[in-house]
């Protein structure tokens, strides 16, 4: 199989002009590494767009009259379009795309000792599907009425009835179309990940020798397969409701803007069930790969084996499984049966246990270690801190009695931005600093990396911790004009102002990252094959790896992934190394 792939490239080279080869290699590439990088750049563009939208939102909240150059002041519907698109871009095109599709594509085959994903053509199609989906999504800003205003969770009937608001017409159709394309692309990608993990491992790479990153990508791919298929079905039903006269989500007797809507018999709760059946596993899709990366990075720079490797594997599987049973905790006050409320609450609290195991084991890995304070390690340590802070508000919201107050307030915004936003993003940063030398053959600047870390760590806390307080004070989310809201909300504007300044601080820090990312491409110190003295298979090959990953032979795995032996210069034994030393 592998020689065939090499032959195929050779035949290609014979028949195509150099220009075409370059196009095939860089654009329509089936090389998992190129595709991984394509996903990486796509998610970077999405992250920059999403961050810019959040900056506009934060500024609007504290100075609503500000005129944007070439646009004028933001109207309430513009603000809500920003809310929707910020959430959508960040959740789908950053948090789903970067940790899983970008790093997963690049490093899963390398870490299991394979030369390629099992279905390279499908892999190429999933990337271009995702890219097309991104273009369709941002084009919603350009159509008449603008982007949808109903939030990334698209509760019906607001999202189902075009007359319910500006942006709910063509903008909303584009949103659905984009998500449907994204779903197909993700399903193809997930299939590829699952089959590749099961079928393409090199000799000696048993399941219990897999790096935790691979376990995380594998379980995440299963979650993707099961949850995105449901989102896709829900999206199709919603599209039918909007255009083909069905009534899955629109009840009888709706009066919108003084007009009676002709639909009969649908249920808004059905949408919420379908959406959150996808939406909750999605949270774990965003965070599990980060957990895998953080385990690896902490072990590598603490120069110690991962504490409780097996427990970590079981915790990943448990989180993945339980993640499918908790979607109802988004719906405690939706009108759902109170029995369901109790059941969902209990399962949600149970999921805190495997999360606690992970935290405990990261601490266990750090215990009695000797840390190398590199930039990836700083972000990994920051991840643990943020994961704890963001995680502990989860079981608060999981209590129905408390949720009846905190639901849909800034407390929820604080919770998921810390854990799903910041912690996951710290995972992405740790992965970027850690694997940059392997991907680009050069090291990123450590001093700039450290500056970036301090901006991000302090900025994340300063921005999102005060949002808990807004929530406790009863400030609902998704409010655009605070000075025209209820009196008690107006009193909270000073705190909002502080949060905006903190957010600007946080965003400014990201410019350092961008500079480092691009400048190091040319100026970074050249990286050798294993600059971090790490143990997993991707470090056995050159940086960046050759077209077919391992030259000339595939590595053979001798041991588990984190053999740090804790003594002297040669304190690690890579997975591919024969013998004990």
């Amino acid at each position: 199989m592998v020689p065939n792939a090499a032959d195929a490239t050779r035949t290609e080279s014979n028949t195509l002009s150099p220009h075409e080869i370059s196009f095939k290699r860089r654009v329509l590439s089936r090389d998992h590494k190129v595709i991984g990088l394509q996903y990486f750049w796509l998610s970077l563009i999405a992250a920059l767009t999403g961050t810019f939208l959040s900056l506009l939102m934060r500024i609007h909240l504290i100075s609503p009259a500000l005129r944007l150059p070439g646009f004028g002041p933001l109207k309430p519907e513009d603000y809500l379009a920003l809310v929707t698109m910020h959430g959508t871009l960040m959740v789908f095109f950053v948090l789903t795309t970067a940790p899983q599709s970008a790093f997963g594509n690049y490093f899963l085959p390398l870490q299991i000792g394979a030369r390629e994903m099992c279905f390279p053509l499908l892999n190429m199609l999933s990337f271009w599907g995702t890219a097309l989906s991104f273009l369709v999504m941002v084009s919603a800003f350009l159509v008449s009425g603008g982007a949808p205003i109903s939030g990334w969770s698209q509760y019906t009937p607001l999202s189902a009835v075009p007359s319910a608001g500006p942006g709910q017409g063509l903008g909303m159709d584009l949103w659905i179309m984009s998500i449907l394309i994204f779903c197909i692309a993700s399903l193809l990608g997930a299939l590829n990940f699952i089959v590749t993990t099961l079928r393409s491992r090199t000799r000696g790479m048993s399941l219990m020798r897999l790096p935790l990153t691979v376990w995380a990508w594998f379980v995440t791919a299963i979650l993707t397969l099961l949850s995105f298929s449901v989102l896709m079905a829900a999206g199709i039903l919603l599209f039918c409701d909007r255009h083909y006269g069905t009534s899955f989500f629109v009840p009888t007797g709706l009066v919108v803007n003084g007009n009676l809507i002709a639909h009969r018999g649908g249920s808004p709760l059905l949408w919420q069930h379908l959406f959150w059946f996808f939406g909750h596993p999605e949270v774990y899709i965003a965070i599990l790969p980060g957990m895998g990366v953080i385990s690896t990075v902490i072990s590598t720079f603490a120069r110690k084996p991962v504490f409780g490797y097996r427990a970590m594997v079981y915790a990943i599987i448990a989180i993945g499984f339980l993640g499918f049973l908790v979607w109802g905790h988004h719906m405690f006050i939706s009108g759902m049966s109170p029995y369901a409320v109790s059941a969902f609450s209990l399962v949600t609290l149970v999921i805190a246990v495997p999360s606690a195991i992970k935290t405990f084991n990261w601490l266990g890995t750090l215990w009695h270690s000797h840390i190398r304070f590199t930039t990836p390690m700083l972000f990994a340590l920051g991840f643990v801190s943020l994961f704890v802070t963001g995680g502990l508000s989860g079981p608060i919201l999981a209590q129905p009695r408390l949720d009846t107050y905190l639901h849909d307030t800034y407390f929820v915004v604080a919770h998921f931005h810390l854990i799903m936003g910041m912690a996951a993003v710290f995972g992405i940063f740790a992965a970027t600093y850690f694997w940059y030398p392997k991907m680009f053959g050069r090291m990123m600047s450590e001093p700039l990396g450290r500056i970036h870390f301090w901006f991000s760590f302090i900025g994340a806390y300063a921005t999102f911790v005060p949002m808990h307080l807004l929530g406790l004070a009863g400030h609902p989310r998704r409010y655009s004009e605070l000075s025209e809201s209820a009196a008690y909300i107006q009193q909270l504007i000073p705190l909002q102002r502080f949060i905006t300044f903190a957010a600007i601080f946080l965003i400014v820090g990201q410019l350092v990252f961008l500079w480092n990312l691009f400048a190091s491409l040319r100026k970074g110190r050249t990286a050798d094959a294993n600059p971090w003295q790490a143990t997993t298979l991707e470090w056995s090959t050159s940086s960046p790896p050759p077209r077919h990953d391992f030259e000339p032979d595939l590595p053979v795995v001798q041991r588990g992934p984190y053999a740090f032996v804790g003594e002297g210069e040669k304190d690690f034994i890579p997975q591919w190394k024969h013998g004990n030393n």
Binding site: I149, G151, Y155, P157, L158, G165, P251, G253, L254, V255, V256, N257, G258, L260, K304, F307, G308, F332, I333, S334, G335, P338, V341, S345, L346, L349, V353, A356, I357, N361, L363, G364, L366, W367, H368, S369, H370, R372, L378, L381, P395, R401, L402, T404, Y405, H407, D408, R450, F457, I458, H468, L472, A473, P476, R477, Y479, S480, E484, A486, G566
Partner: protein, 262 residues
């Protein structure tokens, strides 16, 4: 670097704890059942606050302790410690579940067995305001029909005048209730999902089109309290707010009589 991390984590942690304790963030409490909420919230915040402090301090301490480079002998426990793992599972499980069970014993959004004392009011959400309906002297809500809805002729709820029960229904744009008497809300929506949120009453419930949901509270003090919408309902979401006017019993009687005779 390790010292800087140690100090930063400790400062950030203490600052977080300080912010939570800096003032009483919850709004004034004006409903009887709200004290159970406040108690449960404070208990939970205290428990998780302590867990938060412990874990962050341990993290900072481990980082600081591991600052010295150089070799260290591993022992079998460097690879994991199953017994401790089990203890952690049991401990966290016990804390989360105990608090969870305490905080879970509540039936949300369901009809409550009607108390004799209780006053029943229908709340209807629409883009972007709340309407309130009192059943009137007959104690029954009249029929409404969506095709009759027309705010311009003063029938925002679509009351069907052919139904005798509808004749004495009172429709108001402000919620007026008597103090110290249970209020049972019947929540409906005409267009999209709204959420009826009264922070001072510790009350929040979705109003869902095509579905009836319920909420109840007993105001314990007279005064004016704010109601907001907490579920994104469209471009005017932020301005969908109003007030609850809690009156002493006799004033409330006067108010309702004046409405009935109009």
């Amino acid at each position: 670097m390790p010292l800087l991390l140690l100090i930063t984590i400790i400062i950030v942690t203490l600052a977080t704890a300080f912010l939570f304790l800096a003032r009483h963030w919850l709004p004034l409490l004006a409903a009887s059942a709200g004290s159970a909420f406040d108690h449960q919230l404070h208990l939970t915040l205290a428990a998780y606050g302590i867990a938060f402090l412990i874990v962050q301090f341990v993290l900072a301490f481990f980082i600081w302790k591991s600052r010295r480079p150089g070799g260290r002998k591993l022992n079998p426990r460097s690879y994991g410690w199953a017994a401790l793992e089990v203890v952690i599972v049991l401990l966290t499980g016990a804390v989360f579940l105990t608090l969870g069970v305490k905080g879970g014993a509540v039936s949300i959004g369901q009809p409550i067995p009607s108390e004799k004392q209780a006053i029943q009011i229908e709340v209807t959400g629409m883009q972007f305001q709340w309407y309130y309906r009192y059943p009137g002297a007959d104690g029954r809500f009249g029929q409404t029909k969506p095709e009759l809805i027309d705010a311009s002729i003063g029938n925002p709820l679509g009351l069907d005048s052919s139904d005798p029960a509808a004749h004495d229904d009172i429709v108001a744009s402000q919620l007026v209730v008597p103090v110290n008497r249970p209020v049972e809300l019947v929540l409906k929506s005409q267009d999209v999902v709204h959420s009826f949120f009264v922070p001072t009453m510790r009350l929040q419930m979705n109003a869902v089109p095509g579905l009836t949901t319920y909420a109840s509270f007993t105001p314990t003090q007279a005064g004016t309290f704010e109601v907001v919408c907490s579920q994104l309902c469209g471009l005017g979401h932020y301005r969908m707010h109003g007030t609850i006017n809690v009156l002493p019993a006799e004033q409330f009687e006067r108010w309702i009589t004046s409405k009935e005779h109009k």
